[in-house]
């Protein structure tokens, strides 16, 4: 890591604690608290992923080449309004895909914190494992990676951007009803 992207141990720890708290808040289904951790201008999106053929024999298999970009069909693209709608829907009990609600355990790992482009912002990489159980025995394990931009506003950390990349090309679960 070049020195200009280095952050202090204190900042690293603060970001880690932010992500762990976020995961706990979601596992505890405190969705309003989660919305409170988001910047009002948040961009929260999940591109699609595909199996591609090599471009040439010396292809370096850049992961980005498997991930949908601008103008292509992804899986999610949310802003604060649509995230609030999704949270409301989880909480209002009218959606039977989440009533009774999923039981989730999120593991967040591989947290790498870099100084962001703007003063007081951080670029944060992490991996996740989300175990989702619902009703009696429905079970699925979802794995993926995230790239976040976390900003500090009035001393408080807020999530400003999150890109979620699942490891699957064919999702092994029926719906993306949860937050990642």
């Amino acid at each position: 890591m070049s020195s200009n992207t280095m952050v202090s141990l204190e900042e690293q720890r603060e970001i880690e604690q932010f992500l762990y708290r976020e995961a706990r808040v979601l596992d505890e289904r405190k969705f309003n608290d989660w919305l409170g951790m988001l910047d009002g201008g948040i961009r929260y999106y999940m591109p699609n992923r595909k199996v591609r053929k090599p471009k040439s024999r010396s292809d370096e298999w850049d992961v980005e080449d498997e991930i949908s970009g601008d103008g292509e069909l992804g899986l999610l693209s949310d802003n604060i309004l649509t995230l609030s709608m999704r949270a409301t829907r989880l909480m209002d009990g009218l959606s039977f895909s989440e009533n009774p609600m999923s039981r989730t355990v999120r593991m967040i790992s591989n947290i790498e914190v870099q100084a962001g482009e703007e003063e007081g912002s951080y670029k944060v990489y992490s991996n996740f494992h989300l175990n989702r159980k619902r009703l009696e025995k429905d079970n699925c394990d979802i794995y993926g990676s995230r790239q976040d931009i976390i900003v500090r506003e009035d001393g408080e950390l807020l999530l400003e951007e999150r890109r979620i990349v699942l490891n699957a090309t064919v999702l092994n679960f029926p719906s993306i009803s949860l937050f990642f």
């Binding site: 199996v51 209002d92 959606s95 895909s97 092994n172 719906s175 009803s177």
Partner: protein
């Protein structure tokens, strides 16, 4: 089970045996009589613009490559080497001059023909390459939609679609430039029998008031749309197809005829403007009757579906009796600028696809129907499809048998058609 006539669906379609959503033996028969015989949706022509472009999909459970050959034609062939059965194409999509088996190197052209293999001259001096190409499907194209069938002597695609083309045209034939799909396909698994999405989109207006009330509670516009759909029809189209569709009288306000959801048009004024700008040409091409026909959800038997007002094409690939793989595309007018296409995608994400707030609850229900179709005692008790018995008049303007929004006419006709096919010889 070959010649004996089985009855899973009552003659009037009002009772349907639960086992057709779960039983392994019935599913094995479906593979022979439905997926090995019917025209199945493969992809949209815009996915194969250039020679060598290919798209990997399935016909039933069998992997198929759809490819544009150097002669400009589209071919579809089973993705299984004739030598040892490996997939010769291992990518979801792309461009390739040929497809080579990773095991011994048998090499096939973009039309599926065997071009050669290592040591051909020495090891296979007498092999007739024309006999050992990849196994072909017969390909048919309707206004950009590419279909395939393994029934090489059966009815044509146009015969299969029949009167459904009238309803397809309302989405596909609005402009000279035509439609294209946005790059990429959403793919995900559900523990649902493949017929549930077909049944849902063939004519189930009824489910929305319960299944989607979480969305209606948040979005008054969505409730408005549903109220409008209730003024429409559930239409059974010969061949097991059907549509949840509105038909507006002459003199209807032009705004009501726009082929999008009212809510989306308001959320994205630029999208609304783009749709409005296309109306004159659409009217010229479609004529007044088709212009006033606005399908919301449609099923093309057996497993292809359209959600026209959100610009979505979809297929449910069967994966055994109790599992499906759902694939969704977004389709837009080619001529639209990128920002308008993006508005369509962004609106789509909120409602449909694995993250869609409407779709999530649909899939939950389809999974629970499948789970509720298992059990020695309960399967003695059929499902009730008797809503609105007696519906099914012809309409003076639009094709198909017409019922109001609250009948299960299209479902009854779909399952009767299904049973007829199941009782045909292999």
């Amino acid at each position: 089970m070959n010649t004996e006539q089985k009855q899973w669906v009552s003659d009037d379609g009002a009772l349907v045996d639960r086992r057709i959503f779960s039983d392994a033996e019935i599913y094995e028969r479906e593979k022979k009589t439905i997926f090995n015989k019917c025209w199945l949706f493969l992809c949209h022509e815009s996915q194969l613009e250039n020679r060598g472009d290919f798209f990997s999909t399935y016909m039933g459970e069998e992997p198929v490559v759809v490819s544009r050959h150097k002669d400009g034609e589209i071919y579809a062939f089973i993705n299984s080497c004739r030598h040892r059965g490996l997939r010769v194409c291992r990518a979801d999509s792309g461009n390739s001059n040929s497809h080579t088996c990773p095991y011994h190197g048998w090499n096939y052209g973009t039309d599926g023909q065997l071009m050669g293999m290592p040591g051909k001259k020495d090891y296979y001096p007498d092999l007739d390459a024309s006999e050992w190409g990849l196994v072909q499907a017969r390909v048919g194209i309707y206004k950009g939609l590419v279909f395939g069938t393994f029934d090489h002597d059966g009815i044509s695609l146009e015969e299969h679609l029949g009167d459904a083309t009238f309803y397809l045209d309302t989405l596909l034939d609005r402009s000279e430039e035509g439609m294209e799909v946005i790059g990429g396909v959403q793919k995900w698994e559900a523990n649902s029998n493949w017929k549930m999405p077909s049944e849902n989109m063939v004519g189930d207006t009824y489910h929305a008031m319960m299944s989607h009330r979480s969305v209606f509670a948040m979005q008054p516009d969505a409730q408005d749309t549903y109220d409008q759909i209730q003024e429409g029809f559930n239409i059974a189209i010969e061949g097991g197809h059907g549509s949840v569709c509105r038909y507006f009288p002459e003199g209807t306000d032009a705004e009501d005829l726009l082929p999008g959801e009212t809510a989306h048009l308001e959320m994205s004024p630029a999208l609304g403007d783009a749709i409005r700008a296309g109306q004159a040409e659409a009217e010229q091409r479609l004529g007044s009757v088709k212009l006033r026909t606005k399908p919301a959800a449609s099923t093309i038997f057996p497993n292809f579906h359209l959600l026209s007002t959100v610009f979505c094409l979809r297929i449910a690939h069967p994966r055994g009796p109790k599992k499906s793989e759902l694939w969704n595309w977004v389709i837009v007018p080619k001529a639209w600028p990128q920002e308008i296409k993006q508005a369509v995608i962004d609106n789509y994400y909120v409602a449909f696809g694995p993250g869609g707030m409407l779709e999530q609850d649909d899939i939950e229900n389809w999974e629970q129907v499948t789970a509720g179709s298992i059990g020695e005692e309960i399967t003695k008790h059929p499902f009730h499809f008797g809503m609105g018995m007696g519906a099914g008049e012809a309409h003076p303007d639009i094709p198909g048998l017409i019922g109001d929004a609250f009948n299960e006419l299209p479902q009854r006709e779909m399952y009767r058609h299904w049973q007829n096919l199941m009782n045909q010889e292999d």
